[in-house]
Every structure is written in C-alpha cells, then in structure tokens.
Amino acid sequence: MTATRTASLRVLVGAGSFADAEAALQMIDRLDRRLGELGGLFLEEMLLAEIAALPAQRVVTPGGMLKGAPSRRQLGALFEREAAAFRASLSRVAKTRKWEFERRQGELIGALYEAAQGWDILFVGHSATHRFPGQVVLIAPPPGAPQRAAEMAGDLASGLGRGLRSLSLAPERAATAGEPSAECFTDAAALLSRLSRLPAAALVVDLAAGPFHGAEGLRQLHEAARCPILVLGAGEGEPVAPVMPAG
C-alpha cells in the first residue's frame, strides 16, 4: 500500500467545457506531490448541436438568463475556444511533467470511460455550482473490496482542506448512527438521491471496487453529484458506448 501511495499517478482529465476542466485541474494541483503523467481529453458532444437546433430551444445560463441556442457553427467555434483554453490550462498545471491532450467527439461519460484505459485515475471535470463547495464525498467500496478510493479521498480532502463524507451501499444494514460523516444506504437510488443534495467539493469512486460499476454507474454518479469526480478503476472495465475520434 505504501508503494501505491508513493508511486507517480497517471491522471486523465476529461471534460466537455473549459470551466469543467478547470475545476478538475485546480484540484489536481493539490495532488501535485503524487502526480506523474497528465492527460487531457476534451469531449465534443455533437448531439448538443442537434438538440440546439430544436425549435424554440434556449440556453439557460448559470446566472439564470434565457438565451437563444447556438447554431452548429457557433457551437463548433465554441468548442474550438474551449479546447484551446483547456489545453493551455493543462500545460500550465503539468509544468515540467509529461502531458498530452486530445479532442474527441462522442457522449461524455462513455467516451471518458473508454479513454481511461491505461490511466490510473480519470478525473471527470465539473464546474462548481455554488460558492462554498462542501466536503469530499467518497462512494465507499463494499467491505472486502480494495480501499484505495478511501485513501485517495482522504488525500484529496486533506489537500483541499475539506471534510470527508462517506456514502456506502449495504442492503442488509441500516444507516450508521452516530457517524455523521458516514452514511449508509440500502439501495443505490437512495444513495444517488442523497448525493444529489450534497454540496460536494468532489466525489471519489472506485468503479472496479463498486458498488457502482462501469460507464453507466459513472453516468449516474455524474448526473447526481454535479461536481468533479475522481474515478479509480475506470480502465479496468468495459466501454459501454462506441466513441469516434474527433475530426
């Protein structure tokens, strides 16, 4: 275990926008001591262009304004700028380390899950939705499974100066009493519902250890958490959706 903690980690940061990527990259800066090679993957979801073309489609900005949806051309230009900013930020964080950057088209989670093959950590970017991110949330692996996610969550919480909260799934067990930082749920829906109401600073999950597995598990967590997700074991599963290399 000690060897694992001191080994350099290869981290892939994936995001569909610069804002999402930047949130993940700032956290990676805190893990600087353990960082080895750094990768960046910018996903262009072309489905967005199809949806943006819907009649009367509008974009709700983070400030609550309603604006007209972008055209395909505008969206393409936007992706171009976002990718360039992502790349620049990635190179800044990488400093002297080895780093690589790639653009792809496809569905975000599926593509990231597939691209994570060969990387120690997948960091799914997500911009902050509120000014005061709360604790680092760990999806605790089931008993008996490797606990590397817990160690990583502890390091991240320490690096961010945040508390650590653990959410676990144990069908046979009631919620843990007297441990406010550890919550146990009997089903995944309840856990996800709780997760969706937590102001998490980041989520740490080991897809290989469970209880959530594969791209679908990651997609559910991403949808509920609305925060950066540090994913272990993503490269150890199978991709769930085909991806195409970008242009």
Binding site: G16, S17, F18, A19, D20, E45, L47, L48, E50, I51, A52, A53, L54, P55, A56, Q57, R58, V59, V60, T61, P62, G63, G64, M65, L66, K67, A69, P70, L75, L78, F79, E82, T129, H130, R131, F132, P133, G134, S193, S196, R197, L198, P199, E223, A224, R226
Partner: protein, 809 residues
C-alpha cells in the same frame, strides 16, 4: 542770562544715601519702579473674566515690560483653574470632521494609552476568536446550509425534469433541456417527425421547465446574499463578544467621563463592524524581533482611526493653574495649529492624527504673550488671531487653504472653544497704527498697559531703583555691586533719561552696562562691581560707537570743517546739532552764517531751497521772519533779503533747535556786530523772542566742548542753552570739571535779547517810551539797518519808475 554753576551740570547720586555697601546686602526681589499704571493695567487684564479684554503692552524695548508682564500673568495664572485637556478623536460618521473632546486636566495621555492598549489587546483577541473551532464550525455550518439549499433546489429540479421525461444537458454556455422519448433524447430530426400536437406539448413542457430552471439559478445570488448576512451576523456576534469583553476592562475612571464613555462606545461599535482590520493586521504582520505578545499593533496606520490625538494636556502642571505661553515665532501655523499631510501614491493625504496644536491650543484657558511686530509681520497670522478671538474658538485653516493654493483632501476639525487672554507687546507706533487702521483692534484689545520711559528721581524712587539693580545683578548671577557702582548706574540712568530729575526705565540698557562692568570687575579680580567698572563700561561703550564722532572732530581740528572757537565774526555763529546712530548719539558744532541786503522781505533758507532741510527746520526759519517783522521797523515795508545756511552740511537737517542760533546770526549781520566764536548756541525760538527747550542738550554741549578742548580751552568758551534745559543737564565729568575750573562755561538764556547781548558784548536794548531802541544797542542797529533797506527800496522804486509813466487821461 546766567552762567550755570558746575554743581548743576550733573546730578550726582550720593552712594551714602543708598543705605547699603553692596547689593549683596539688599533683598533679591524687586518690582519695577514707576510703572504702577502699566502694571495695574496688566493685572486688570489678567483678572477680568470677560472676553475681548485683551492687552496691548506698549513701551520702549528694554523697559522690562516683557518680563514684568509674564511675571504678573504667571502670578494670576496660579490662582486660576487648570484648563481641561484637549484631544481630537476620529469622527466615525464623518472622518473629515474630527471630534474635539474636552477632558479633565492630565487625563488625555492616560486616555491615549488606554486606547492603545485596547487596540493592542484586541489585535490578539479578535484573530484568536475567529480562528477558534467554535467560529469555524459555525461558519462552515452557514456555508453548508447555503450549499445544500442550492443543491437541493437543483436536485429538486432535476427530479421534476426526470419525472417529466426531460433531460438536462450541460454545455459550455449553460444548460439546455430536451425531451426524452423512448429512452432517447429528442433531437431536431426526431422532433420534426412527431405529430404537431406532441411537438406543441413538448415545446410547452420544455419552455416551462426552462423557466423553472432559470428561476432556480436566479435564486443563487439571493441565497448568497442571505448567506453573507448570516456570516456578517456571526462575525459581529463573535467580534462583539471579544470587543465587549475587552471594553468591560477599560479604565473605569476614564469611562466615568461622559465624552470618553461615548467615544469608547463608538469605538466598540466600529471595531465590531470592522473586525477584519484586526484580522488583516495579524495576517500581514511580519516576523519582527519581538514576539507576537508584545507587538505594538496600535502604531500600524490601519488603526489610526482609534488614536487619541492629544492636542494639549496639563497633566504635568495639574494644579499649578492656567498656562502662560509665549510664542516667539507666531506664524499662522504655530499660532492656530496645522494639519499636516503625507504623500501617498503621489497625492497628499491626511487624517485627524496629523492635526498639530498651535500656541492658542497650549495657552487656551490661560494667557498667550506675543510680540506684536513679529505677529503682524507673519502672513495671515494677525487675521487668524482676530478671527479666533472674535469667534472664541480655534479653527485650524492652513495658509494654502485660505489662499486656495492647493487642492487636496483636508479636514474640518471641530472648532475648539477658546478662552484666553492675548497679550501683545509692542511699541507705541504699532499701537497707534493699529488703533488708526484696524477697527477690530479696539474691539478686541480693550486694555493698554503703557510703560513709562522715565520716573522721577526722588529719594524713594532712587532707593527702589537701587533695589531693582541689586535684584537684576542677583538674577543674572553677577557680582554684587557696590553702593558707588549703583550710584554710578543711577547717574547713567539719569543721563539716559535726558533729564537730571528723572531716571530712565530702559533697564535693558542699564543691565547691559552692568554686565559689561562685570567683565571689567573680573579683570581686576574684584569680588564686587564698583563705580570705576561702571565708568569704564560707559567709556568703552562710548568708545566702541564713536568712530564717526572722532572722525568728525578730527575734521574740525584739522580745519577741514571750518569751526571757529576764538575771535568774533559778523553774521557767523556756532550752532549745535545731534547725530544719532541707533542708541548712540553725539553732538557736533556747525557753522551757521547769515547774509543780508535790501530786498522784498524774503528770508532764504538755503537748506530748504536745496531740500536738505526738514519741515521742522523750515518752520524754525519762518518763525525768524515772523520775529523780525514783528519786532523791527513796524511802520515800514519789510525790505530785507537774507540768506541762512549751515556751512559744510551735506546731509539732511531737521528740527528747530538751531533757530535761535540762526536768529543770532541774522541779528549780527543786520547790526554789523560780530559774534564771539568761542560760544556755541542751541535752542529754538518763538515769534516773541523767547528761547525754548531742545533735545540732546548734553550731547550738544559735549560736542562743542570736545572741539574746544582739542584746540585748548580758553575759559571764554562755552555754550548758550535755553534756561528750560538746565534741569536736563547731566554732563560728563570732564565737562563738569572744566566748568568747575573756569575753563568752560555754560550759560542759560531765556530770550533772544539775553543771548545776543552775550554773543556780541553789546546790550540788546529795550524799546523806550519814545518807541525807539537805545542808541548803539543791537536792536537799534538792526532797526536802523532795516529802515535803511526800506528807504533804499522806496528810493529804488521811485528811481526805477520812468518820468511820465502812468495811466494816460
């Protein structure tokens, strides 16, 4: 006409009447002599409680007016209450208008120290409290509450969208919504294939949810405002706990003073509202040589807002009464105080801690002594002083501000109530000018203390004067003065007064003589200052200043300047004049000549013609004309043309003291009787022929005496002086000794007739019952000459008119 006996030429003080051997035997303290009127005025001004009874002390320099004034004011000040301390503190509502506080005497420094300690302590207490687990926990709870509220709103929306089969998509620009149909997101392509009813239903659903999402997101700023208020309330609550706890330990005696209590409460509220200042100061604190516990945070400019700026404190002299202040350099700033500025980022800034007190602040509640001339010569200082006295408050305004010379931030400090007595010390000329030209002066300076320049030389005053000199010697640390020395000084004071019956009160000059005599006494290794030391001091002082006098006498002795001291000459006489350089005066003879001939009644004053004669001199000459026309040949036209001149005079001449000499020269010229050149004359004359007193009689006599002495005294030489000047005689010993030895004489005359008789050796002559002067008398010869001029003029007139000339019928 009478020769004055030698004992009347100098009023000598007899050391035996003084009643002591040396000044060591007499008391050390003594009041001014003969200044009762002035001293009473000073006392009145010091005692009167009403405003505007400020004082102008006028009199000559060296009269002791300054020290006497300060002494009396100090005496009176000791009986008055010690005024309150004055401080400026921050006005938290309007920082450009600092507040002035009035505190009991001596409290201001203690208040300042207490405030410094308060700040130093809170600089430790407040950060400690904000770093405590208690505060951090409460703050985290507030932040989590906000975050959870926001997350819940988003989660609720996501749930609703999901229930309504709507997907929430994140894009770089924001969120987009699309319907889910058969588990797939509806794109434009699939949408177009739907029937219109379903399309409308989807559009309506999406539009509604977009509005809901927008509303959720728009709630974020509102929630954050609420959060900020909660955090602020928490901060206030925590800061209040720390500040109130520390304020409760504040000096209870100080808090018993209302204005301090009010200010401390204001400070308490301000610190609570600005607790972050203390947190920042701690965060910015560099690691200095001293540990955190002893760091003096109050010196950080950040905390200037809590400083107590002590303008004036009477702590050290508490119980000693009111202050008596003297400002030697009464500039505007030093008088009313100033507001300093510092350069910050290229601009001038200031705050209430840069308000500096002036003399008015220091003297407030007591007395302020100023030199009038210096005050009036300082730009705007007099105006500022008057304004303060009128408004009875000290309002600090800089010269630049008054002249609108600079445009920068400045302050409007609370005016400080002013209750003081201003004492101006100056000369009479300034007083007269102020009375005449400044209408405010009379309103504000209602009392004048007019110092006498001389006092009667009575036995009583002489004794007091002697005590005064003794006290002066003691005060100045001089050797004791023998009775002979004191007597010599008293004689010198009489000489200085220009009057043998007076004593000069210009004590500064007498004191200077005494100090110089101290040196000579030291040269002799004498334990006492004796008369010889005083005499030497007088002599040396005279010698130091007499270079010009000596050169002038040398010019006369060598014949460069023509002065006869023997023989007799017609129409020529020795006049006497006084030349002054500062305090030094000396006399010198001048040859005055008169020439006469027939004319149209014109008396030409050559000095006036060439504008070397002043108005008083011209007046004297015109009086001569009046005298002649009223005295001689009354029934004939005045047909004289005469000219008068000061020979070898190349500078201006003024005064009428030579008018009698000029008249004697004229009478000599008219009578053709020569004047004894061994005599010199001084005195003015009126139209009735009476000889009147003049100034500088001693110097004039001594000036002619020196000329005669240089050529050898004959015993016939002397000076004619007005009889009314006899009591002013205080001649040098050498002159007195010469008169005593009949080698020189001084004659007093009352009338021109007396004088001309002595000068010509011919009786002047009184007009007899027949209206004529006695034959051969001076006056008869003069009248005869004038009649001859008149007749010659008439004859000339007849001869000059051609025969047959006249109007034709």
């Amino acid at each position: 006409m009478a020769e004055i006996p030698y004992h009347m030429l100098r009023n000598r003080c007899d050391p035996d009447v003084l009643g002591f051997d040396t000044t060591a035997r007499i008391g050390g303290e003594s009041r001014l002599v003969g200044q009762a009127r002035a001293l009473d005025a000073i006392r009145l001004s010091a005692r009167i409680s009403h405003g505007d009874f400020n004082l102008y002390v006028l009199g000559p320099t060296g009269s002791g007016r300054h020290s006497a004034t300060v002494e009396i004011l100090s005496e009176q000040a000791r009986t008055r209450e010690t005024p309150c301390d004055r401080v400026y503190v921050n006005n938290f509502d309007a920082p450009h208008k600092p507040r002035a506080l009035c505190l009991p005497p001596g409290v201001a420094p203690r208040f300042r120290e207490a405030m410094r300690n308060l700040v130093d302590d809170l600089a430790g207490d407040i950060p400690a409290l904000f770093e405590s687990e208690e505060y951090q926990t409460q703050r985290r709870a507030i932040e989590e509450e906000l975050s959870e509220t926001q997350e819940s709103a988003m989660a609720d929306f996501a749930d609703r969208a999901k229930q309504e089969n709507v997907a929430l998509l994140r894009t770089p620009m924001g969120f987009m919504l699309t319907a889910i149909r058969d588990g797939e997101r509806v794109t434009n392509e699939t949408f177009q294939k739907l029937d219109p009813e379903e399309q409308r239903e989807i559009e309506e659903r999406i539009a509604r949810l977009q509005q809901e999402l927008a509303e959720v997101l728009r709630q974020a700023p509102k929630l954050e405002r609420e959060h900020r208020r909660k955090v602020e309330n928490l901060n206030v609550e925590m800061a209040e706990r720390a500040v109130s706890s520390r304020v409760a330990e504040f000096d209870s005696e100080l808090l018993a003073i209302d204005c301090i209590s009010d200010h401390v409460e204001t400070v308490r509220q301000d610190i609570i509202a600005n607790a972050e200042l203390f947190l920042q100061a701690t965060a910015n604190a560099s690691q200095g040589p001293f540990p955190e516990a002893v760091r003096r945070v109050h010196s950080d400019p950040t905390f200037d807002r809590y400083v107590v700026n002590v303008m004036v404190s009477h702590g050290e002299d508490a119980g000693t009464g009111a202050p008596v202040e003297t400002e030697e350099l009464p500039t505007l700033d030093r008088l009313v105080g100033r507001i300093e500025h510092v350069s910050h980022m290229g601009s001038l800034v200031t705050n209430f801690t840069m308000i500096k007190p002036g003399a008015l602040h220091r003297a407030n509640g007591g007395y302020l002594v100023l030199d009038a001339r210096r005050l009036l010569s300082e730009p705007l200082a007099w105006d500022a002083l008057k304004q303060c006295l009128k408004s009875r408050s000290i309002r600090i305004t800089s010269m630049a501000e008054r002249l609108s010379m600079v445009s920068t931030t400045s302050l409007e400090p609370d005016p400080i109530p002013l209750d003081l007595r201003v004492v101006l010390i100056g000369d009479r000329m300034l007083h007269a000018l102020l009375v005449m030209l400044d209408p405010d002066f009379g309103e504000l300076f209602k009392i004048q203390a007019d110092f006498e320049e001389t006092v009667d030389r009575s036995a009583e005053n002489t004794a007091l004067y002697a005590r005064l000199l003794g006290a002066y010697a003691n005060r100045e640390g001089l050797r004791p003065v023998t009775a002979g020395g004191v007597a010599r000084l008293i004689d010198e004071a009489t000489r200085l007064a220009d009057d043998s019956t007076k004593l000069s009160l210009r004590l500064g000059v007498i004191g200077d003589l005494l100090k110089e005599a101290e040196v000579y006494a030291g040269d002799r290794d004498s334990a006492q200052i004796e008369a010889a030391d005083i005499a030497r001091a007088v002599e040396e002082k005279d010698r130091r200043a007499s270079r010009i006098r000596d050169r002038m006498q040398e010019a006369i002795t060598r014949g460069t300047v023509l002065i006869d001291t023997e023989g007799a000459k017609t129409g020529q006489i020795n006049g006497l004049s006084v030349i002054g350089f500062g305090d030094y005066r000396f006399g010198r003879p001048s040859r005055i000549t008169a020439r006469v001939r027939m004319g149209a009644g014109k008396l030409v004053d050559i000095e006036r013609e060439v504008e070397l004669g002043g108005p008083l001199h011209s007046k004297g000459v015109m009086i001569l004309s009046g005298y002649l026309t009223a005295r001689y040949a009354l029934d004939l036209p005045f047909s004289l043309h005469a000219s008068l001149v000061f020979e070898q005079s190349y500078g201006g001449i003024d005064g009428d003291s030579a008018s009698s000499a000029e008249l004697y020269a004229l009478l000599s010229a008219l009578s053709d009787l020569p004047i004894d050149q061994g005599l010199a004359v001084t005195g003015s004359v009126n139209q009735a022929g009476e000889v009147q007193a003049i100034g500088g009689v001693n110097e004039k006599i001594e000036g002619f005496f020196e000329t005669c002495a240089a050529r050898g005294l004959t015993g016939r030489q002397g000076v004619l002086i007005p009889k009314s000047n006899v009591e002013h005689l205080m001649l040098r010993d050498e002159v007195v000794e010469a008169v005593e030895a009949d080698r020189f004489r001084i004659v007093s005359v009352e009338t021109i007739d007396e004088g001309i008789a002595l000068l010509t050796g011919t009786p002047a002559g009184e007009r007899g019952a027949d209206g004529a002067f006695p034959d051969g008398s001076v006056n008869a010869r003069v009248e005869e000459r004038l009649c001859a001029f008149a007749e010659a003029r008439q004859a000339f007139g007849r001869a000059a008119r051609p025969s047959g000339e006249g109007p034709e019928a």
